[in-house]
């Protein structure tokens, strides 16, 4: 790891100013994606802006018909949040499948969403629920936020402050874990909120998380696993690596989508 200097601002504004002042500065949240890549010298920020002392960007709240989660809320806090479990259990269940207890103690939702790892879980929940990513500058719909593998619509001096998830009556997440890493080989998040039906896939797309319009259209007729029978996703453009070929990933998307819909209708 290369040397760096660090700052510990206490407000979002201070943190934004630090980012604006120091080109190539990086935000540090739970550190569970950033520190490993710094060790590998894949990220070499000369300046780190630690968000842990920033006030007002942590916690889970019910606001109107949405669950609003502060960017610095750790995975364990979302998993244990009664308000999330009561109102949007499909979302509360997502962090329980992330990493291990020590990772969940450290990692944050803001860090996960900003990182947009192609195998991460929260991006699927954001896209699958039609969340809004609230930043220090603006509100970005999930449909516009995830722009490709490890890339997002965030500007260099922009900080995620919270994420707002509309409450969907029917929603579920199905994750096929890589047995060693625990990351999603494929994960599918489905939801139905009135006529808004979403099927979001992580782990499979070569550009990161994506929606499956064909599945969504089929589910609009009837929101049931049966509606997806016979439908499949093309393997073209899906990831193929030592862990799984594109064909297998395409197959998993169908299986997991049907299972997720089956779970969702039981709620």
């Amino acid at each position: 790891m290369y040397a760096f200097t660090f700052h510990r601002p206490t407000t979002v504004r201070q943190a934004v100013n630090l980012l604006a002042k120091h080109e190539d500065a990086k935000l540090l949240a739970g550190g569970h994606s950033l520190i490993p890549v710094m060790k590998l010298r894949l990220a070499n920020p000369p300046v780190i802006v630690d968000l842990s002392k920033v006030e007002g960007i942590s916690g889970v709240e019910l606001k109107g018909r949405s669950i609003v989660i502060g960017a610095m809320t750790r995975h364990v806090e979302v998993a244990n949040s009664q308000v999330a479990k009561d109102n949007l259990p499909a979302l509360a269940e997502v962090p329980g499948s992330i990493g291990d207890p020590h990772v969940r103690e450290a990692g944050t939702i803001g860090g996960s969403v900003a990182n947009n790892d192609p195998n991460a879980d929260y991006p699927a929940a954001c896209l699958g629920l039609g969340a809004t990513i609230v930043t220090s500058k603006r509100k970005i719909p999930a449909d516009e936020f995830f722009t490709g593998m490890f890339s997002t619509a965030l500007e260099p001096d922009e900080i995620i402050t919270k994420i707002s998830f509309p409450i969907a009556k029917k929603a579920a997440y199905q994750k096929f874990k890589h047995p060693a890493s625990g990351f999603a080989l494929v994960g599918v998040f489905v939801s139905k909120r009135g006529s808004d039906i979403r099927v979001a896939v992580t782990g499979a797309g070569s550009n990161g998380v994506f929606r499956v319009k064909e599945f969504e259209e089929a589910l609009k007729k009837r929101f049931a696993p049966k509606s997806l029978e016979g439908l499949s996703v093309k393997a073209d453009g899906l990831n193929s690596d030592i862990h799984a070929g594109a064909d297998y990933r395409a197959h998993l998307i169908g299986v997991l989508a049907r299972r997720a819909v089956a779970d969702a209708v039981k709620r």
Partner: protein, 155 residues
């Protein structure tokens, strides 16, 4: 260089360290508390687990300065004088180790598990909760037995 101060195993410590210093390096190299191990150094294996303000954390994935002002407990801090902590005693009794390299992290993770989930832990829960602690020798069987017994002994 950056000044860090924290409490480690009940003792106040202060040092000047490079900002890159990981908590585990600080513990091992500055404080000579070499019970906390580095296994993979990629945030996977859990050999470096310590408690920071009472919660299990991988000390290889945290800078020393992030623990500024915190209360850190390492494997050296769990026994009561010459009397082993009940979880340490359970690992000894049930032979929950072979080479012993992962053991400090296993014990810190196990104590944290009891703090979070209570004293009656079934095998399935223990195995699930050990997701972040790898052992290359034992096949986990005796570790799981040791944790179940240690959890009860901690009552």
């Amino acid at each position: 260089m950056t000044a860090v101060s924290m409490t480690v195993n009940g003792k106040a410590v202060t040092a000047d360290v490079d900002s890159r210093t990981l908590l585990v390096q600080f513990l091992r190299e500055n404080l000579r508390l070499t019970g906390t191990h580095v296994g993979c150094d990629t945030s996977q294996c859990g050999a470096c687990v310590v408690h920071v303000d009472g919660k299990a954390r991988k000390s290889c994935t945290m800078f020393a300065w992030q623990a500024e002002g915190a209360n850190v407990t390492t494997i050296e801090g769990v026994a009561n004088g010459a009397t082993l902590h009940p979880m340490q005693e359970a690992f000894r009794e049930h032979h929950g180790l072979q080479c012993g390299y992962c053991t400090p992290g296993m014990i810190m993770a196990a104590i944290d598990m009891v703090h979070r989930l209570g004293h009656e832990l079934d095998d399935k829960t223990i195995r699930q909760e050990l997701d972040g602690n790898l052992c290359r020798c034992t096949g986990y069987h005796n570790i799981v037995k040791a944790i179940a017994a240690g959890a009860r002994a901690m009552k």
